[in-house]
Amino acid sequence: MAELAQFVEKVRSKNAGPFKLTIDIFCGSKDAFDHIRTALPSERIATLLRTDPERLQRFEIASLNVIKFSLDRPQVQGSIHDRDMHGASWAALIAELEI
């Protein structure tokens, strides 16, 4: 077991408009991409972020060695309970996942 960050180049999270969040895992190599795509089922992301797995989108982009997840924002951007206006910190939760 090791944190996901140790296998990949970078994890980035951003808003995709005020209602969606998108997380890009840049694996950096085909080997890492192949490893992470099998070792990281979408259900783990849904559980970690407590989001509806049915609403979690997953994209595997082999040409970039990127795995991308998009989901409804748990709190709409900038609403009174939102704690991360730009959605930038979500990447840290993913990067620290034990793989």
Binding site: K14, N15, A16, G17, P18, F19, K20, T22, D24, F26, L48, L49, R50, R55, Q57, F59, I61, S63, L64, V66, K68, S70, D72, P74, V76, Q77, G78, S79, I80, H81, R83, D84, M85, H86, S89, A92, L93, E96
Partner: protein, 456 residues
């Protein structure tokens, strides 16, 4: 046919590399296009209809672009003027523009495209069945819409083309899609439609699709089959990787991008490197839609807020911060209900523990190995009036200052950072629309006017 579009940076206010800009102007672009904002800075800017960037910074950069435009002799277009693209933000930039024109002695024809929508009109459109929710979308009603402080519609290429057709030197557009200001001219001049939108998406953030991203400036050459993008700063190089990766950026679907009148599909796009500096892309397609729709954005007041802040440095309190904060929240809530005669759902009190779990709250996984040196306690009170929020903030205050973990111990005191301890944030806003509106004609929701200024 080739159309060369110069993009100085991802947004007016972010700055650009002057040498790279000079080079790009020397390369004789057909148009200069820059974005003026987005929703990413939060709902307050749209809610109030104001810019997030300082007037001085905006003026300085805009002046540079107005000088570059005069030198190049081509139109300069800004989309989403003043961060949110409301009419008030457009007027703000128009005022800056006429002020600069006077200073520079420029005679100009300015086209102004307005995107604001009245709440009554949008309520009527909802009643007429012309609004459709995107997913996810907040619940709306005709009554609720009338409380929205600002609503804008996102213009597409058609509205920018109408502005270009006025022969204006400068186009100040309200809310537009980020891509429309870039795609408009190539589409008008017969370039490949898939390439026009694809290149526009790649170039929307300037040199963010290349190395040395903060240099800003890129040139995009559009033609009948594709586009070629070139960052013009030293040390800024585009590669198939940096360019194709930009399709991921702030985009929920990396292959599809919805625009007024259709969508871009880059599933079959091919990227090739040219000289290690530029990238050529082909293979994207534009899929027209049956209905012409524009996206709407709206904001309303969510409440009035007061912020307060204290630091816990005592190790015992650091160790038991969550218990301490939960206890305070509950006690302050009860007291606010009792003393102000409020109901439980009329206000919120939230304490965020910086150093422990402020970013994620309950979602933060337990980390028992980590003991922070100190914990920042950031408190928010939100109510339906500022006066009420301030009253509740003052009820919360003595707890944050002196609340003990146990009744037996001596009264503790915690470190406050400023006086007054309760800082009024004022009205806080929330985004309240994620809908599209069907239009019979692309210009139906937008107003275009031209203004001539004569100086020099």
């Amino acid at each position: 046919m080739m159309t060369r579009v110069l993009i100085p940076s991802g947004a007016l206010g972010l700055g650009y590399d002057q040498l790279a800009m000079d080079r790009a102007i020397a390369a004789k672009p057909d148009i200069i296009a820059i974005d003026g904002g987005s929703t990413d800075s939060g709902p307050s800017y749209l809610g109030r209809g104001v810019s997030k960037y300082s007037r001085a910074s905006t003026r300085l950069e805009w002046k540079g672009l107005m000088q570059a435009r005069a030198e190049a002799g081509v139109p300069l277009v800004i989309g989403t003027a003043g961060t949110c693209g409301s009419d008030s933000a457009v007027d703000w930039l128009l005022d800056i523009t006429t002020d600069i024109a006077k200073e520079l002695g420029q005679t100009l024809k300015i086209a102004v495209l307005r995107s604001s929508q009245t709440p009554q009109h949008i309520a009527d459109e909802l009643a007429a069945g012309h609004l459709s929710p995107l997913s996810p979308a907040p619940e709306i009603s005709e009554e609720a819409i009338k409380q929205f402080t600002n609503i804008v519609a996102l213009a597409g290429a058609e509205q920018i083309q109408a502005a270009i057709n006025t022969g204006a030197d400068i186009i100040i557009a309200g809310r537009t899609t980020d891509t429309a200001i870039i795609a408009a001219l190539p589409l008008m001049q017969g370039c490949h439609s898939g390439a026009a939108w694809h290149g526009a998406k790649i170039g929307e953030c300037g040199a963010l699709c290349a190395t040395n991203p903060q240099s800003g400036v890129v040139l995009i050459d559009f033609d009948e089959t594709g586009f070629t993008i070139t960052p013009t700063a030293d040390g800024a190089n585009a590669s198939p990787h940096t360019v194709s990766a930009h399709m991921l950026y702030e985009n929920a679907d990396p292959f599809i991008l919805y625009e007024p009148g259709g969508h871009l599909d880059v599933t079959d796009a091919v990227y090739e490197s040219i000289d290690g500096k530029s990238v050529r892309a082909t293979g994207a397609s534009w899929v027209p839609s049956e209905r012409y729709t524009v996206k709407l954005e709206g904001a309303r007041i969510a409440g009035y807020q007061v912020m307060t802040f204290a630091l816990l440095r005592d190790r015992r309190y650091v160790d038991h911060a969550q218990q301490w904060a939960d206890d305070i929240t509950q006690k302050a809530r009860t007291k606010a209900v009792d003393r102000l005669g409020l109901s439980e759902d009329e206000f919120t009190i939230e304490l965020r523990l910086i150093g422990k779990n402020a970013t994620f709250g309950d979602l933060e996984p337990e980390n028992s190995n980590h003991r922070p040196t100190e914990i920042g306690v950031m408190g928010f009170v939100t109510a339906d009036s500022l006066q009420k929020a301030q009253e509740i903030g003052k009820i919360l205050n003595p707890y944050l200052l002196h609340h003990p973990l146990t009744q037996e111990e001596e009264q503790p005191t915690f470190a406050f950072q400023f006086s007054p301890a309760e800082v009024p944030v004022g009205p806080v806003y929330e985004f309240c629309l994620n809908h599209v509106m069907e239009l019979a004609d692309p210009m139906a929701a937008f107003r275009l006017e031209t203004i001539e200024v004569h100086h020099g």
